[in-house]
């Protein structure tokens, strides 16, 4: 995961390429304290990956940025923790900060 210093600019794409897909992202732990239990994010096709999601979230909720930069942050797609970080329309997404039981 690359570090997020500031939101990357989102350049206009041609109409043919610009297909926005809306995702609801569940947040847990301290992330939910900051931004609420769920946030809505619109990503263009071609942006449905972990890094783009983090960039959009950092734009929507700048206080999340330090926590989005945590290498231990996990993306959960359809209730499975994924490492490739790619997802598609219709997937359910969740962001899990570092876990700690016991």
């Amino acid at each position: 995961m690359k570090a997020i210093a500031a939101p990357a600019p989102i350049w206009p794409l041609s109409a043919a390429k610009m297909v926005a897909v809306r995702f609801t992202v569940e947040l847990y732990g301290k992330l939910a304290d900051i931004a609420g239990r769920a946030v809505e994010v619109e990503l263009n096709t071609g942006e449905t990956h972990f890094d783009a999601l983090l960039t959009h979230l950092s734009t929507l909720h700048p206080p999340l940025i330090p926590h989005l930069n945590d290498a231990r942050l996990m993306l959960c797609v359809n209730d499975e923790v994924v490492h490739g970080g790619v997802f598609k329309a219709g997937d359910s997404l969740a962001l899990l900060p570092p876990v700690s039981g016991g």
């Binding site: 732990g29 301290k30 016991g102």
Partner: protein
């Protein structure tokens, strides 16, 4: 008994201990461990409460996986993991693990293994409620190193 339970009510340790002992009757060794909410945090402040958040679909499977891996690794005949969620007061039991095996060493090691993995793999988030404010508790470096020591260890 091979069981993980996510509990919203206070743990009835006497009841679960009796159930486990009954199930493990005849095993060479049974080990149990109880973790309690500390009354002071790492900064020496009084803790008013500890709030545990869990994931509705990931938390219980994460506990089950730890128990099953311990059973496989240490050839357990029985195992049990109970974990609280919700708001707990200081001194309340937060976690209970039990392991039974033909010999004591395997049971001791399995209980230790389950706790080390619950600390940094079970899907929970913990928030301390103190007079000075609320604080999310992160896994400590020691929690990760406690888990890693099993990677190269035998039983």
């Amino acid at each position: 008994m091979e069981q993980a339970e996510l509990c919203t009510a206070p743990l009835d340790l006497a009841l679960w201990q009796a159930r486990f002992q009954a199930a493990a009757m005849g095993c060479g060794g049974a080990v149990t461990f109880t973790g309690n909410v500390r009354a002071e945090n790492a900064r020496g402040e009084a803790v008013e409460a500890l709030v545990l958040e869990h994931h509705p679909r990931l938390t219980l499977p994460s506990m089950q996986k730890i128990g099953e891996e311990a059973a496989r690794r240490f050839s357990l005949t029985h195992w049990l993991i109970l974990h609280r969620t919700g708001r707990l007061s200081p001194h309340e039991p937060i976690v209970f693990v039990a392991a039974a095996a033909p010999h004591r060493r395997a049971a001791f090691n399995a209980a230790d293994y389950m706790m080390d993995h619950l600390k940094s793999e079970a899907v929970f988030w913990k928030k301390e409620i103190c007079n000075s404010g609320d604080l999310w508790i992160e896994p400590r470096t020691d929690d990760y190193s406690d888990k890693e020591r099993w990677q190269n260890a035998g039983n």
